[in-house]
C-alpha cells in the first residue's frame, strides 16, 4: 500500500498545458472511476484548479502506481506521455503526504498562504467521496491535511498580512488607529480599488462613511450601497476634519488636497491622526502632506510596497509552517504503519482458528459418546487456549508497529507463522471494506 501523487502546477507548467490537463468539476466522476479501475490503484482523488492538477492515489506498488497514474493522465487527455513528462512532478509515501499538506496550507500557491486552495482541496475530496473512489487511506489523508492546514493558519501568521492593495490599506489603518469601530471614512471619487478598500474598512468595523462625487447622483447611489452619507463634491473640504480615513480616487489632473489646508485641519482635530489613501493616477493628494505630524499618506505604489513586504513576512512564517508539517507527517505515518499491522493480526488469528477447527473435527470424529454439553466445553476450552496464546504477541505487535523497527516485528510474525502474501492480501481487502 503506497500513497503517490502525480501533478503539475503553475511552477512546472504554463497555462496552455494546465488548461489541457484540467478536469472540470461537473464531469469529474468519470475520470475518477476510470483512474480506479486499474488493479494497481485502490483509491484516487483528483484536485483540479486553474493553478494545478494533482492526482493522489493509493497504489499496490509505488513505481507501478506512479506509472499507471501518469499513463491515465496522458490517455485521458490524449497527450503523449513524452510531451507531458517534463511538466509533471511525482512523489511517493512521505513525500506525497508532505506535498498534499503543503498544497492545502497554501505553501505551494502562487500567492503564499492564500486560503482558497484549502476549499478547492475540500471540494476535490468531496467529489471522490461522492464517487466512492476515496477509501480508508484517502479519508484519513485528506482529513489530516485539512486539520494541518487549519493548525498552520492558527499557529503561524502565514495568512495574516494582506497581499492585496485594498486590504493592505485596511491593515495600515489598523496600525495607525487602535480600533476602527469609532472611525469614519470619506470616499472622494469612485473606482474599483477605492470601493473595495471602503468595503474592507466597513467590514473591519468602520461605522460611518461619507461619499463625495462630482456627479451627485453617483454619490447618492454609492452612499446607498455603503449605507453612507452623500455630499456635494465641493463640500468635501468641510468634512475633512470630521473623518479619519480618506480614500481619494478622482480623475482630477492635479492635486485637490494641499498641505496648507491639511495643517489647518489637523490643528482643528487636535492632532488626531488622519490616514490618506490616494489611489488616483495622476495623484490627487500633494505628497508633502506626509511630512505633517500625525498625517499618513499612501499612494498606489506605497501600497504595492507594503504588499511586497507582507509577502516577505509570509515567507518567514512559511518556515514555521514547514516545521508543523514535518511533525504532522510523523503523526500520519504512525497511523499508516498501524494499518499494516492490522491485516497481519487478522491473518494470524484466522490461521490459528483454522487449525483449531480442523483439530476439533479430527478429535470429535475419533471419540464417541460425548454429549452436546461436553462438546461445547471442549470447544470453549480450545478457544480459550488459542486466545491466551495469541494475546501477548498481538499486544506486542500493536505496540511495536508504531516504532521505527515496527516493520521487523510484523515481518517476523509473518515468517514465524508462515502468513504468506496471499492470505494478507485477502485480509487487506477485508480491512478496506470496513
Amino acid at each position: 500500500m503506497h500513497i503517490v501523487v502525480v501533478g503539475l502546477s503553475h511552477k512546472t507548467a504554463p497555462v496552455e498545458i494546465r488548461e489541457k490537463l484540467s478536469f472540470p468539476s461537473q464531469t469529474i466522476g468519470e475520470p475518477l472511476n476510470r483512474l480506479c479501475t486499474s488493479y494497481e490503484i485502490n483509491e484516487g482523488v483528483i484536485v483540479s484548479t486553474c493553478n494545478r492538477v494533482e492526482i493522489f492515489a493509493v497504489t499496490r506498488d509505488a513505481e507501478k502506481g506512479l506509472w499507471h497514474v501518469k499513463k491515465f493522465l496522458s490517455d485521458y487527455h490524449n497527450i503523449p506521455l513524452e510531451q507531458l513528462d517534463e511538466h509533471l512532478y511525482s512523489h511517493t509515501s512521505e513525500d506525497a503526504v508532505k506535498h498534499l499538506f503543503r498544497v492545502c496550507a497554501g505553501l505551494d500557491s502562487m500567492v503564499l498562504g492564500e486560503p482558497q486552495i484549502l476549499g478547492q482541496a475540500k471540494d476535490a475530496y468531496g467529489y471522490a467521496l461522492q464517487h466512492k473512489t476515496a477509501g480508508v487511506i484517502m479519508n484519513k489523508l485528506f482529513h489530516k491535511s485539512f486539520s494541518v492546514a487549519k493548525r498552520i493558519r492558527t499557529e503561524t501568521k502565514i495568512g495574516s498580512n494582506a497581499v492585496s492593495i485594498s486590504y493592505a490599506a485596511v491593515e495600515l489603518a489598523k496600525k495607525i488607529f487602535n480600533s476602527l469601530t469609532d472611525k469614519s471614512v470619506m470616499l472622494i471619487g469612485a473606482g474599483e480599488m477605492a470601493e473595495l478598500a471602503a468595503k474592507h474598512l466597513l467590514s473591519s468595523g468602520v461605522q460611518e462613511i461619507i461619499v463625495a462625487n462630482r456627479t451627485y447622483e453617483k454619490a447618492v447611489e454609492m452612499a446607498r450601497c455603503f449605507k453612507g452619507t452623500p455630499i456635494m463634491f465641493r463640500e468635501f473640504t468641510h468634512y475633512l476634519k470630521k473623518v479619519d480615513i480618506i480614500i481619494v480616487s478622482t480623475a482630477a489632473p492635479k492635486y485637490i488636497i494641499h498641505p496648507e489646508q491639511i495643517e489647518e485641519v489637523i490643528k482643528e482635530r487636535k492632532n488626531r491622526s488622519m490616514f490618506f489613501i490616494d489611489i488616483s493616477v495622476p495623484r490627487n493628494v500633494d505628497p508633502l502632506i506626509n511630512n505633517i505630524d500625525n498625517i499618513y499618506l499612501y499612494n498606489v505604489d506605497d501600497l504595492q510596497g507594503v504588499v511586497a513586504a507582507n509577502l516577505k513576512e509570509r515567507a518567514k512564517e512559511a518556515k514555521e509552517a514547514e516545521n508543523i508539517i514535518n511533525e504532522e507527517i510523523d503523526n500520519f505515518y504512525r497511523w499508516v504503519k498501524s494499518l499494516d499491522v492490522v491485516p497481519t493480526i487478522v491473518a494470524l488469528k484466522k490461521k490459528l482458528e483454522d487449525i483449531r477447527k480442523g483439530e476439533m473435527e479430527k478429535a470429535l470424529s475419533m471419540v464417541n459418546g460425548l454429549q452436546e454439553k461436553d462438546i461445547q466445553a471442549i470447544d470453549a476450552m480450545t478457544r480459550a487456549i488459542i486466545n491466551k496464546i495469541i494475546h501477548d504477541p498481538v499486544t506486542h505487535l500493536k505496540k511495536e508497529a508504531n516504532k521505527v523497527e515496527g516493520d521487523f516485528y510484523i515481518e517476523a510474525a509473518r515468517r514465524l507463522f508462515d502468513l504468506n502474501e496471499e492470505s494478507l492480501k485477502g485480509e487487506e481487502k477485508l480491512v478496506e471494506k470496513k
Binding site: 499557529e155 501568521k157 498580512n161 495600515l172 489598523k174 496600525k175 495607525i176 488607529f177 487602535n178 480600533s179 487636535k270 492632532n271 488626531r272 491622526s273 506626509n290 505630524d293 500625525n294 499618513y296 499612501y298 506605497d302 510596497g305 507594503v306 513586504a309 507582507n310 516577505k312 513576512e313 518567514k316 512564517e317 514555521e320
Partner: protein, 272 residues
C-alpha cells in the same frame, strides 16, 4: 542570600532579553511566550531578592544606590506585568527586559553591603518617600519605552517601508494611549513623593525645603512632566511630539539622578 538571588534575577532578565531579541528576528509568537515566562520567573526571584534583603537589613532596602536601582528595576517589571494583564502586548517584553537588565547590571557594579542607617533616618517615611518616588519613576520609564516604540512604529509608517518591527508593534494609537496612561499614574506619584520628602526633611533636618540638588531636580522634573501633561490635556499634544518629549524628560530625569548620586551632593548624600 539576597546577593545570590540578585544574580539569579540578573541571569533571568538576561535570558529574557536574549529570547526577546530572538523574537524580534524570528517573529515567532512561541518565542516571545517563552521570553514572557522567563521575565516572570526573573520577577519572582527579584521579589525574593528585595524581600530577603529587607529581612536581612531589618529595614526597607531603599537606601543606597544598589538598592534603589534594584527597586526601580523591580517596579518597571511589575508595571509591565500589570499592563500585560490587560493588553495583548507581548512585544513590550523586548523593551522592558533589556531596560530592567541594564538597571540591574548597573546595580551589580555598586557596593552591595548592607549599610546601617542613622537612627534618625530609620522611619517609615523612608519607605513611603522612596517607594513613591521610584514607583513614579517606573511609570515615567514606561512612558519613555512607549515613546521609543511609538517613534519606531511611526518611522515605519511615515517612511512607508514596512518590515521588521512594524509587524510586531501595535498601533500608534495604543502606544500613544499607554504612554499617556503611564504619565497620568507617574505624575501624581512624583507629586506625592515630593510632598512626603518635604515632610520627612522637616522631621529629620527641621526644614521642609532646603534647595539641595535632589530637591531642586525633582522639582524641575515635576515641571517637565506637568508641562507634558498640560500639553496633552489642553493643547492636544500627541503622537510624535509627545513621544519625543517623554523620551527627553526621562533622559533628563535619569541623568540628573545619576549625576547627583555620583557627586553625592546635598542631604541625600547620606545614603551613599
Amino acid at each position: 542570600m539576597n546577593i545570590l538571588l540578585f544574580y539569579i534575577t540578573v541571569i533571568a532578565y538576561l535570558l529574557a532579553t536574549l529570547i526577546s531579541i530572538a523574537y524580534l528576528i524570528s517573529h515567532n509568537e512561541k518565542v516571545i511566550r517563552v521570553a514572557n515566562h522567563t521575565i516572570l520567573t526573573g520577577f519572582i526571584f527579584h521579589t525574593l531578592t528585595i524581600g530577603s534583603r529587607w529581612f536581612e537589613a531589618s529595614r526597607a532596602p531603599f537606601a543606597n544606590l544598589h538598592e534603589v536601582l534594584s527597586l526601580f528595576s523591580w517596579m518597571v517589571v511589575a508595571i509591565y506585568l500589570l499592563i500585560r494583564l490587560r493588553y495583548r502586548l507581548a512585544v513590550l517584553c523586548a523593551f522592558v527586559a533589556p531596560f530592567a537588565l541594564l538597571l540591574l547590571i548597573t546595580a551589580s557594579f555598586l557596593p552591595k553591603e548592607i549599610i546601617p542607617l542613622a537612627p534618625s533616618l530609620m522611619s517609615y517615611w523612608l519607605t513611603i518617600h522612596v517607594g513613591l518616588a521610584f514607583l513614579g519613576n517606573a511609570f515615567f520609564a514606561m512612558t519613555f519605552l512607549f515613546g521609543i516604540m511609538y517613534l519606531i512604529q511611526e518611522h515605519y509608517l511615515k517612511s512607508k517601508k514596512v518590515g521588521g518591527l512594524y509587524f510586531l508593534l501595535p498601533s500608534l494609537d495604543i502606544l500613544d494611549d499607554l504612554s499617556y496612561k503611564c504619565l497620568t499614574f507617574g505624575f501624581p506619584l512624583l507629586t506625592m513623593a515630593i510632598f512626603t520628602g518635604a515632610i520627612w526633611a522637616e522631621y529629620v533636618w527641621g526644614s521642609y525645603w532646603s534647595w539641595e540638588p535632589r530637591q531642586t531636580w525633582s522639582l524641575i522634573t515635576w515641571f517637565l512632566y506637568a508641562a507634558l501633561l498640560h500639553g496633552r490635556l489642553t493643547i492636544g499634544w500627541r503622537g510624535r511630539k509627545a513621544a519625543m518629549y517623554a523620551i527627553i524628560s526621562f533622559l533628563i530625569l535619569i541623568s540628573s539622578f545619576v549625576i547627583i548620586k555620583l557627586f553625592s551632593w546635598g542631604a541625600h548624600a547620606v545614603f551613599k
